[in-house]
Every structure is written in structure tokens, then in C-alpha cells.
Amino acid sequence: MSSAPTREVARRAFAAEFNDATYTFKESDDERAPVFSLLPTGERANRVFVVGTLTETEDVGEESEYWRGRIVDPTGTFFAYAGQYQPDATATLRDAEPPAYVAVVGKPRTYETDDGEINVSLRPESITIVDEATRSRWVVETAERTLDRIEAFDAGGEYAAMAETQYDPDLSIYRDQAIAALESLEESDAADDLLEA
């Protein structure tokens, strides 16, 4: 079917898995072809949707503004970097007063540190302040998507095979993280009930 290039879906992954996605690839030789990060549970990600607690913002730029935000979910921390080419996201990070729940739509980016380690970060397309209900919904949704990927892994799709080769992942780690994330929601509900009682 001849149609406009389709928009890349925003994958859901917890911070711990996102930060493990150090392998990147392109699907064609075209210079402008999208770059994908390979999630260890066997999916490619050119875009992600993340909701978490913004705990800290800092302007780490030298000559021009370059903001780093730490966004925490039940499994770890996303590092988001926004500069002059992401004016809206930069403005949100500049004005935000942590702690606050934020939703981020962004692209995975990798860079190699001086000691040869690959770090994964998030380049935001947008950051907005959201509420706790949105954050809870994201945790459940992300756990569900993660489990779907784990379940499909053994069926051996293209990206599962690629993940097998690149990472040889221990999928039980990602399953246990999803379980812990879901349990943390139940605990906070229980705590709320206790406070109300």
C-alpha cells in the first residue's frame, strides 16, 4: 500500500530495561533512516513513552543551556537531556519544581563514556507535568507490555532473536522488576487506605 511514512510507535519499558538497551541499529543504509534501540526483551524502540517522578533537574551545559532531568520509576532512573533543539522540553525542565510526576515522549540515545561504557539516555520530544493517576496507569501498562514481550520471546521473532544474540538476556530479571513495580502500586494503595482509616 502506498502511504505516508508511518509514525514510530512509542514503546513502553521500565527504566531498568531501557538503560540495558545499549545496542542500536538501523534497518536501512539511508542516512535519515530511524535509529532503533534494541530492548533486551526483544523489541525495537525508536521512541518511548515514559511516566515517572522528576526528582532533580540541572543545567549541565557549558556554553548554552543543556538540561538534565532524572526521572524515576519503580525500577530505576531515566536520564533525559534537552538542549536548544528541544526548546519546549528545555523550558519544562527549567521551570519544573521537583519532585513532580512527568510524562515524557522521547527517543533513546546512546553514548560511550571515557571508560568505554555505553550509557542510554532519553532525548525528549515533549515533557509535561501529569498526575499520580497517569503515573499508576503507565506502571500497569508498562508491566503488561513488558510481560507481553517476555511471553513472545521464545516464539523467536526477529528482534527476540537479535536480543538473544546481542544480550543473551536473563528475562526473569525483567519479569521480577515488572512484578515489583506492580506490587509497589498495591503497597501505596494500602498505605493510602491506612492513612484514610
Partner: protein, 309 residues
């Protein structure tokens, strides 16, 4: 019968009334392309048909499919399908060109589809609300959207029945991950029947015009597996963002910039979860009903699944 022979027979049927060619001739031509020149059979067939069209002085859409099939609107999933449909005329639109006799929307229980009837095909007039059996129509595709064309080989039979036309309403859920350019406070062309959105005060059809203000959002709902583009009209935009047309105009005046409206809307709605119900229109869903998903989600079913893995 071989594959080539089968194709040759079908092509022969299509031209039997207009050209004096034998099935053997046609098969020879196909054979040359497929065996000597390694052309895939579909492409070979297309090429041979083109040759005969030229010889007969015919246009492709005058060609009888020979193999048209009884179908429903929902079956249409490719261009150049030859079909027989029983449909009701839902809506007639104003043709934009003299070459079009009638254009509008037809539908059956499975959904609706745009139709075009060419002036040169010289077919009887269709009237709104009437059910017809259309024999030998051909499908077309433009930017992912399908339509049907009535051509000179199409038969039209009026039926004395009624059809409950199904709407292709869909329900989608997901996070609003993008508000595209052309959203917020926009201006539309004021010319009759032209509602094009102006770019820098210009309509692509009517040039410089005094536009009329409107509100809309072209947004993207994403559930982590699928992406849906959604259009919110003025009413839906106000419901979604709480910003009405007057307020939007005031905001734009205060800031001397219409873009502040879309920026404010982005702050209010991006990253939230919504459920949207509405008809699909090409690649867009038109938001009729909007629900903000704020209720708590029960993690238990997912937990149970997780523990079973």
C-alpha cells in the same frame, strides 16, 4: 490449464468485444515477457493489457474486470479490485470537476466508501437514500484511503429495499503522545464549500483571503503497540482542553501569536491517557466522544499473569 494460459484467457475475455485477438497470441506475448525477459507474471499481464488498451484506444477504467466478485464495502482492501456491491447512497457531494458526474458516499452494513461516477461513462443518475446493485465497479486508493469508481462497464440496478448502513466507528485508547503542527487556533478559507486551512493567510485554492478562526487538534494516540491519528474538531478540542474559540482568540491577541494556543494545549493534554470514539476517515479517527482515563487501574490481573510466566 497453465497459469499463463489462464491469464491469457482472462485477458481475452476483457477484450473479446473490442479487439480481434486470439488467446494464443496473448499467451505468446505473456510467454515472451515471463520466460525470455524474466518479468513477474502480474507485471507481464499489466504490460500486455496496456498494449491492447492502446490498440483499442481504451482507458484502463473502461476495462471489464471479467472476474468481478460479489463483495461488501469492508472487503475493499486493495486498489484495482473489480467488485459487485449492493449499497445505499448515503450522501452526494458537489463534484469539483466537470469530468465527474456524481461523487459521494455509499454504504452497506459493513461500512461506507467514497464513490466517483465519471461524466464520460454516461451512467444513470443515482439519488440519495436509494439502494442500488452496482455491477463491475473498480476500487482505487489515494493516500491509504479507498474509493470505488463507476465506469462505462458498470451496471446500475435500482433495488426496492433498504439497507442499514453500518458506520465504521472505532474506539481507541492510549496516551496522547503528540499534537501535530496545524493544531490549535487556525484560520480556514471562507469561500463557499472550501474549508481549507490557511497557511500564512493563503488558501492553496483561493489565494490570499480573510480567514475565519477555528479550533482543532491533530493528535496522536499511542498505546505502545499501535499509533492512531485523531482529529478533534472545535467542540472536541474545547472539551479536551477547556479552551474555547473566544478564549483562544484572546490568548492569541494578548501574545500577538496564535502558536501560544497550541502550546497551552500541549501543556494541558500531552502525556495523558484518553479513550476516543468516532468514525474513521482515511488515516484519521474523528473524535466524537472523549473520555479522560483517570480511574485507578487494577494491577492484579497483570500480577497474576506475571507470576504465571
Amino acid at each position: 490449464m497453465t497459469d499463463l494460459r489462464q491469464h491469457a484467457v482472462e485477458i481475452h475475455e476483457q477484450f473479446s468485444e473490442t479487439l480481434d485477438v486470439s488467446v494464443d497470441d496473448i499467451e505468446d506475448r505473456l510467454e515472451t515477457l515471463v520466460s525470455d525477459y524474466r518479468v513477474p507474471i502480474e507485471e507481464a499481464r499489466r504490460s500486455v493489457v496496456s498494449t491492447y488498451l492502446d490498440e483499442a484506444g481504451m482507458e484502463r477504467d473502461e476495462l471489464s474486470g471479467g472476474t468481478s466478485q460479489e463483495a461488501t464495502v469492508a472487503d475493499i482492501d486493495a486498489p484495482e479490485m473489480w467488485l459487485d456491491l449492493t449499497v445505499k447512497v448515503v450522501d452526494l457531494w458537489e463534484p469539483r470537476s466537470d469530468s465527474i458526474a456524481q461523487v459521494g458516499l455509499v454504504g452497506d452494513e459493513s461500512g461506507t466508501v467514497k464513490f466517483t461516477k465519471w461524466a464520460k461513462s454516461d451512467l444513470p443518475e443515482l439519488s440519495e437514500g436509494t439502494v442500488y446493485r452496482l455491477g463491475n465497479v473498480v476500487t482505487d486508493e489515494y493516500q491509504g484511503r479507498f474509493s470505488i469508481k463507476l465506469n462505462s462497464t458498470t451496471t446500475i440496478e435500482e433495488l426496492d429495499t433498504d439497507i442499514e448502513v453500518g458506520d465504521d466507528t472505532t474506539e481507541i485508547e492510549g496516551a496522547l503522545v503528540d499534537i501535530q503542527s496545524g493544531s490549535g487556533l487556525i484560520k480556514r478559507c471562507p469561500e463557499d464549500d472550501c474549508t481549507r486551512v490557511l497557511q500564512n493567510g493563503r488558501c492553496s485554492e483561493h489565494g490570499d483571503v480573510d480567514g475565519e478562526f477555528d479550533l482543532r487538534i491533530k493528535g496522536v494516540l499511542d498505546d505502545g503497540e499501535e499509533v492512531h491519528e485523531v482529529i478533534f474538531d472545535q467542540e472536541a478540542t474545547e472539551e479536551l482542553t477547556g479552551i474555547g474559540l473566544e478564549e483562544a482568540q484572546q490568548m492569541a491577541m494578548d501574545a500577538l501569536d496564535t502558536e501560544v494556543v497550541a502550546d497551552e494545549m500541549r501543556t494541558t493534554v500531552l502525556g495523558r491517557y484518553y479513550r476516543v470514539v468516532g468514525p474513521t476517515f482515511g488515516r484519521y479517527v474523528l473524535a466524537d466522544e472523549i473520555e479522560t482515563l483517570t480511574d485507578a487501574v487494577d494491577p492484579d490481573p497483570v500480577l497474576i499473569k506475571a507470576r504465571s510466566l
